[in-house]
């Protein structure tokens, strides 16, 4: 995946190789009632299409939506070239699995339910993050970890003191501890996470094999590259979905023979694709 590879050029395909034809739809805040307004609206759509690189462009559909907006469908030809040798693919260290695949992997490789204890620690009372990951309700169209048959979830809620979290995690024989920090003063989320990981290291003797559970923290203000610095195993940032967390837990805690998931990687789901702009 280096830039040294020979250029490999493709263009959009309409009905002929290399024709470069695409379709877009968009809305402009312009009226579409009188003949003059209609002509102006279509002209505005043409101008946008041209600036987007569609040339020639054809407005095939325009419809007024209420008094102030118009919706357009535009076809056109783009002159841009896609150089496949410049597409970089960032592998995440774990494959994204469906809930069925996660369940199968835990069943096959762990042979029992995976126990997850979740909490908001310190003074943070905002459970929106941890709940979005743990509650069946989930978010962004993905069900939370409670939905997974092979994961047992213990959600301790908000403002949990670190010693209580360690004790509860030990009592539940937690495989993983998930901590969310949403609203924190100064950099309290950093020091809270460090306190937590230190407490788990100190209390490792309470856990099977004297090994602390997997520590996962999440929240919009965390930098995902700081895991080692904070003494935790994984940091999830803004926009993380329950499926990503479940996939990570299966990867980290139920490794080994592919429980059906990794042997049959679901298309491109294991990788996040970036188009290299420059």
């Amino acid at each position: 995946m280096t830039a040294d590879r020979p250029a490999e050029i493709v263009r959009p395909y309409g009905d002929t190789t290399g024709d470069g034809r695409i379709q877009v739809s968009f809305t402009l805040p312009v009226p579409f009632s009188t003949p003059t307004e209609r002509a102006r609206a279509e002209g505005a759509a043409m101008q946008l299409a041209t600036k987007m690189g569609l040339e020639p462009a054809m407005v095939v559909h325009a419809k007024g939506m209420g008094p102030d907006y118009t919706f357009f469908v535009v076809y056109g030809r783009v002159s841009h070239l896609v150089d496949l040798s410049h597409v970089t693919v960032t592998e995440r260290e774990f494959p994204l699995l469906s809930s069925a695949e996660v369940n199968l992997r835990i069943r096959s490789n762990l042979g029992r339910k995976l126990v997850v204890v979740g909490a908001c620690i310190g003074t943070d009372a905002h459970t929106v993050g941890i709940d979005a990951i743990l509650n069946v309700k989930g978010h962004s169209g993905e069900k939370g970890l409670e939905y997974y048959r092979e994961i047992r979830v213990v959600n301790l809620g908000s403002q949990v003191a670190v010693p209580d979290l360690v004790a509860k995690a030990a009592a539940e024989s937690a495989d993983a501890v998930l901590v969310s920090q949403v609203v924190t003063q100064r950099d309290a989320h950093i020091s809270n996470a460090r306190d937590m990981s230190a407490a788990f290291e100190a209390g490792a003797g309470q856990f099977a094999g004297d090994r602390r559970p997997l520590l996962v923290v999440g929240g919009p203000r965390f930098d995902p590259s700081m895991a080692a610095d904070l003494g935790v195993d994984k940091i999830f940032g803004k926009g993380t979905t329950p499926g990503e967390v479940a996939s990570y837990l299966a990867y980290a805690l139920a490794p080994g023979g592919d429980g059906g998931g990794a042997a049959d990687p679901a298309g491109d789901s294991a990788a996040r694709v970036h188009g290299a702009a420059a």
């Binding site: 739809s25 809305t27 069946v136 309700k137 962004s140 939905y147």
Partner: protein, 534 residues
Amino acid sequence: MQTRLNLDPAIVREARALAATAGQPIVEMAKTHTTVSVERAVLRLAGLKGADADGMPWVNHLVDAVREATGLEHGVALPAWDALLTGGYDSLAGLAQAAALRTVSFRIPSGTDAVSARQAAQAALQAGIARIDASRAQRQALISQTADPPKPWIYLIVATGDIYEDIPQAQAAAREGADIIAVIRSTGQSLLDYVPEGATREGFAGTYATQENFRLMRAALDETSRELGRYVRLTNYASGLCMPEIASLAGLERLDMMLNDCMYGIIFRDINPRRTFIDQRFSRQIHARAGIIINTGEDNYLTTADAVDAAHTVVVSQLMNEFFGTEAGLADSQLGLGHAFEINPAVPDSFLLELAHAQLVRELFPDAPLKYMPPTKHMTGNVFAGYLLDAFFNLCGVMTDQSILLVGMMTEGIHTPFLSDRDLALENVRYVRDAAGRLGESFVPAPGGFIEQRAQQVLGESIGLLRRINSEGLLTAIAEGTFGITKRPADGGRGLDGVISRADGYFNPASEILEAGNEAAAPSAPALTRMGAN
């Protein structure tokens, strides 16, 4: 009621009877307990509003202070109004502010002091419930001045997080054909044990439900209703830890429909089952009085479980929601029971299965304004295929005479709908309604055919599940994960510490008025005499 599915009336009767016996112990529990939210709702109905500088409502302060001093076993009203009368406070707000500083001494009054406190509280609540009655009358007046749209009502969602952005979007949606506007709440509001205050401009994927937001949106939709000559209804969400309070605010501010499910908070939000059922009964009594149509959340089961395998859990939940709703005084016309079009389109005959399920629900609840939810689980990001699936949903809706159609968005699960997504979705509904709106009258499944057999099978499976629930008890069934996969023990989940067993002499002036009113208005026995009894 003529059945097109050849349902056996004896089986339908048995299903209702089983739901009633499963629900009755829950009703008994609700009648012998109260919650912090029920007590806060009493204060809200008496007109106490506002919050401290940190946004914590005065009703929370007052209820917490009373609980510390006397406990809530007798209800908040008796000690609160006693303190109001004997402590020289000019208002409930003055009392609550002093109570927040813990400078009020509360007691359970006796003798003539108790009589005075009781009378003062009753007068305050009479005035509060009268405001709900006035809101209901105003709704009727506005409907007669404008017009009640024909069913199915078109239900559209706005969810910007900012009430001042929601308003123009809602008005635009109404102009484009929406009959009902639902304002989605901020993620996780159902888990807050207080109701936020004031007009709000920030939320997580939705807008906070507050009294002021309710008022602002209803006023804007009144304006639009007059402009369009058609009454546009407003919906919000009661489910959660503050069900009684949000129901009260909705009644006061003339919302028209509320999401209020008997088990949603338990299953999907891990709210304590006892707390939920107690809160729910009071909230539904308020809805009954306010003329609000409830929407139940059975569609959610199908987003977690397979829509074919779990079809009967929807029917069972609908029967439970009907039992609890009717017991709380809701009329059939207020029972917006929910279900959804969520079968995997790759399943052979998926549309026939959807027709069977939708027609079954229609026939089981002939007078309920059923709320039908569009596909979400199998919307893939292929917006073109999604548009087609939504059209089939709309077709199923009109063929089986559903009452409330939530408009499916082809960009479901991708982003909050663009203006154009909404416009295209409404175009889809309009086309299907205009092209096939009267197809329902000709839709008679072949006797003994696939659709009839499937409907009867689902009904049969519902009976089986209801029997199981009856043998182990509803709370145990919930604890064992019967609904929506998750196990929810009766003593687990959030909010259990807000549940209080009532003492002898428990006094709740709001419940007194509501139960007297509902007894006068509602039939005493729930629904056993409906279809299937003849």
